[in-house]
């Protein structure tokens, strides 16, 4: 199902703000974590995700999107064109 999509600018600040809005943060090694547990989040391919490769969130923050093309293509069915 296609859901509403918010586009944010490409800056670390904007990324941190989007993460904060969704209960997530960044650890000392720049990996994205769940604020509540400190656990590092995983991309759909099972990789830990750094803030640098973070490109968005899907499905109410559950799925972390990375900025490589195959991952974006994989998520594109759910994102408005």
């Amino acid at each position: 199902m296609v859901q509403k999509t918010i586009i944010f600018e490409d800056s670390e600040l904007a990324k941190r703000q989007v993460l904060a809005i969704n209960g997530k943060g960044v650890d000392k090694e720049n990996f994205i974590i769940e604020n509540l547990t400190g656990e590092r989040v995983l991309s759909p391919t099972g990789r830990e995700v750094t803030i640098h490769e973070f490109a968005g969130l899907r499905n109410g923050s559950v799925i972390v999107i990375t900025d490589d093309l195959p991952s974006l293509i994989e998520q594109s069915d759910y994102i408005e064109k």
Binding site: I6, A14, A20, I21, G56, R58, S61, L72, E80
Partner: protein, 288 residues
Amino acid sequence: MIDFGTALASILAKGLGIKLEFIDKSTGKTKVTRKGGNGPVIKQKGRNNLIIMPVVNGSLSPETKPLTEALNKAFDNKGINYLAAPAREKLSEYHQYESTIDRSRIITTLSGIIPYRHIALIKTGLYLRMLSDDNKQNEVNKIYAGLVNYSAEERYIINLASARHFNHYILPTFNELKGVNDGLNKFLDHYYKIVNDPELALFVHRGMSAENVYRSVIEMAQKNLKYGVVRHKIYVHATGISNVETLSEAYPRIKKIFPLSVKKRLARDMPNLTIKIPYQTNALDKQN
């Protein structure tokens, strides 16, 4: 029913000091609906209620909580997607090609048969091929730069698609096997052998010398012969000036051992060289 954008505007306007801009659906022009504050700027564009939110003014502080609540209310807690502007741009560029990317019906045929993840890799490879054919080398390089964390298998699937092996080898194999008894399982068996044990094609990269290329071809041929692979063909692909030079340097030595069929494409910005090696079982006797 209240328009989505209007609902969001009214919620965000309440005490958040947020400037909202909407793009008028009929004219496409930006319409500022409320001014004030230094907080995030939110734009609505087009029919799909797409919101562009360049987050400007820094701190994560007091705005964050009300913004979360406002967004959740506005979206009725149905789940929102967030996407960075460059990622959105990459996808838009990809979507321009998407309708023409599957002329050979690779995606439509293999969807639901091979893993979902592979489909995205194949789409990427087919897209890279189209960009290469259009001499868009910068875009190709940018996409490859984003694949640094990918496994060798994942990159191999992308490269196989980019080198048209899905068009010329894997899809025809599927079409051939689909009519025979237990054809689907036979195809999948064959498919996984190809993507997990990449002895079909060698992709020259910057870390390889001519000696590496030559040795790799010999090793691939030896392995294929050892396991009785009936294909008896190896493809060597080089894309880009330095890779083509490396393969050209290895070429005379390879030719001494194997009868070669060479396909050379010299695009303006994208030199591209492919060698097809239909080796014979006794070819390796000539190895020096």
